[in-house]
């Protein structure tokens, strides 16, 4: 079931800035990652989902409702974390939480208390005096306090320390398991890698690549690190790999008798058969990193294709 949908959304701010013909769907109980360099248009797209901006072309819906015409109804079941924390500074954290609970007509504060404990938020002081990270935690608690079904998070972990970032990532995974639909924009590959099912890369206002992480993993070449006992085995294995078109030699280290072998998943059993004939000291997979994959897109011109 589609929860968030953008169809051919265009917003031209002039001078080539804005978003152009953006389309994607976020399905129920999935985490959708939105990656792209500064000024790519991530926040602009989110602004349209929230109903702050009206698309010049195209349509944005959340739970089947038009984001622009039904903005206030949509907010009942949506949690939003803005990219820039701009909290009302004259309040204390507690007053702000109370205000947001009142505005959302949340009477029961047990869920909110749980969140405050989980993120170690100290909401007692004035917002003006809070550290950046504390303000962000306050914004996170506010976004989740009414236990919404849909979450729109704009760079949620910026400003958090590494331990809190990890805690947030775990939290997002738990929320997904509970059936929440989450759209998340980020610059941090590991964060996207750890949480997202679907990923879109946006650049200069265009979606230049969209893929499913599991399918990408299935499609991409895996790299194995193999260490053998002596020079003879090393040479023999090297020759076997190089003469076989199913595999390819990524890297080799003659002095340590180490080889790195690239192999697509469908050829995996053939590789294992081949290796079984040779005495091997160690054999392990080099973990796949989305980072390398993403980096190509950051540099590439608009219109780049998946390799």
């Amino acid at each position: 079931m589609t929860i968030i949908s953008l169809q051919h959304v265009t917003k031209d701010y002039g001078h080539g800035r804005g978003i152009f013909d953006i389309s994607f769907n976020v399905e129920k109980a999935t985490v959708y990652g939105f990656l792209g360099p500064n000024g790519a248009g991530k926040t602009t797209a989110i602004r349209h989902i929230m109903g702050f901006s009206k698309p010049q072309q195209g349509i944005v819906t959340v739970n089947g409702l038009n984001s622009w015409t039904n903005a206030s109804t949509i907010q009942e079941k949506l949690g939003y974390l803005p990219g820039e924390v701009a909290l009302p500074e004259h309040l204390t954290g507690e007053q702000f939480i109370r205000m947001m609970m009142d505005l959302r007509k949340v009477n029961d504060d047990t869920h909110c208390k749980k969140l405050i404990d989980f993120f170690e938020l100290d909401a007692s002081g004035r917002i003006k005096r809070m550290s950046l990270g504390m303000k962000r935690k306050l914004a996170i608690v506010t976004a989740f306090m009414h236990d919404p079904n849909v979450l729109v998070l704009d760079e949620p972990t910026s400003g958090l320390d590494p331990i809190m970032q990890q805690r947030f990532i775990n939290f997002v995974r738990e929320e997904k398991k509970r059936g929440k639909t989450i759209l998340l924009s980020s610059h941090i590959f590991t964060e996207v890698d750890a949480t997202c099912d679907e990923i879109s890369i946006i650049k200069d206002g265009h979606v230049i690549s969209s893929f499913n992480k599991l399918e990408l993993l299935k499609m991409t070449e895996k790299v194995f690190h193999v260490k053998v006992k002596n020079a003879l085995d090393y040479k023999q294995l090297g020759q076997l790999i190089e003469s076989n078109t199913d595999f390819h030699l990524v890297n080799k280290n003659e002095s340590a008798f180490e080889l790195q072998i690239g192999c697509y998943p469908n050829n995996l059993s053939r590789l294992i058969k081949l290796l079984a004939a040779i005495p091997i000291l160690s054999f392990n997979e080099v973990p796949f990193s989305l980072e390398k994959h993403f980096m190509e897109f950051y540099d590439r011109r608009v219109g780049g294709e998946l390799p």
Partner: protein, 267 residues
């Protein structure tokens, strides 16, 4: 739509009150003190002495009519009592909408099921109520001062009340101008440029037009001229002018609502 979705939101009103009450209090105190002082310092015996001196000259006609209210009309009701509320309005109107959009804190209000129209109506309601209460206090203080200090004088209370009603309606209209630009502009600096620039220009035009008859042409370029103190004191027909002020205010407040409902917010 659904129940519990009133047009004025109590939670937002409470927060607005909390954030703005200090400024309101300062201006209300200053305005009230000014009113009390201006009323208290009036001394018609000095005027009587002067009129005695100029008896039989051309000046006599002018001075002969000087009463407490006409003195107030040319001082408090054209300068102090106008500019102080204008400054209050400029600061408050900008902080109610535009500065929250500019800073981004409006995003939190709009990420709750609160309608844009509810936000505008609540904030406009605050500004209007703040002005009503401010002028009620000022009028009451002025009235008491008159009763206590000038009990011997023959003052037309109805005229005094009408001066204050007129001043309030002028401020209502001016507040609608500042509030409109606060709702229309996304940047504080633009909201202030228009929301402060126009009321101050109106004030200066009115001041210029009263300096000399040759500058009277300026009174056609300011809504402040619609608060016609001379007409009020001389019993001329002034009602239509006050109704124009009221109408202008209502139109601009409605325009603020419509503009804010439709505009793109860069949050």
């Amino acid at each position: 739509m659904q129940e519990g979705n009133p047009i004025i939101n109590g939670t937002i009103f409470k927060q607005t009150l909390r954030a703005n009450v200090k400024l309101w209090l300062i201006f209300t105190i200053v305005l009230t003190l000014l009113q009390i002082v201006m009323v208290a310092v009036f001394d018609d015996s000095t005027l009587a002495d002067v009129s005695h001196l100029v008896e039989g000259t051309a000046l006599a006609g002018l001075l002969g009519q000087t009463t407490l209210l006409s003195m107030l009309a040319s001082t408090y009701y054209s300068i102090h009592g106008v500019i102080f509320p204008i400054i209050y309005i400029i600061m408050t109107a900008n902080s109610l909408i535009a500065s929250q959009v500019d800073r981004g804190s409006m995003a939190y209000l709009l990420s709750t099921p609160t309608k844009r129209s509810t936000i505008i109506v609540t904030q406009a309601f605050y500004l209007i109520v703040a002005l009503v209460v401010m002028f009620c206090i000022e009028t009451t203080a002025g009235f008491i001062t008159i009763q206590v200090i000038h009990s011997d004088m023959d003052i037309v209370v109805a005229d005094f009340i009408m001066l204050n009603v007129g001043l309030f309606l002028l401020m209502f209209a001016i507040s609608s101008i500042s509030f409109f630009f606060s709702s229309y502009c996304n940047l504080s600096k633009n909201s202030l440029a228009f929301g402060a620039g126009i009321p101050i220009a109106f004030f200066l035009f009115q001041l210029l037009s009263s300096v000399d008859d040759s500058l009277n042409v300026f009174s056609y370029f300011t809504i402040n001229a619609l608060f016609d103190t001379t007409a009020i004191l001389e019993g001329e027909n002034y009602w239509w002018k006050l109704i124009v002020l009221l109408g202008l205010g209502i139109v601009l407040y409605i325009a603020s609502l419509e503009v804010f409902k439709r505009k793109d917010l860069p949050l």
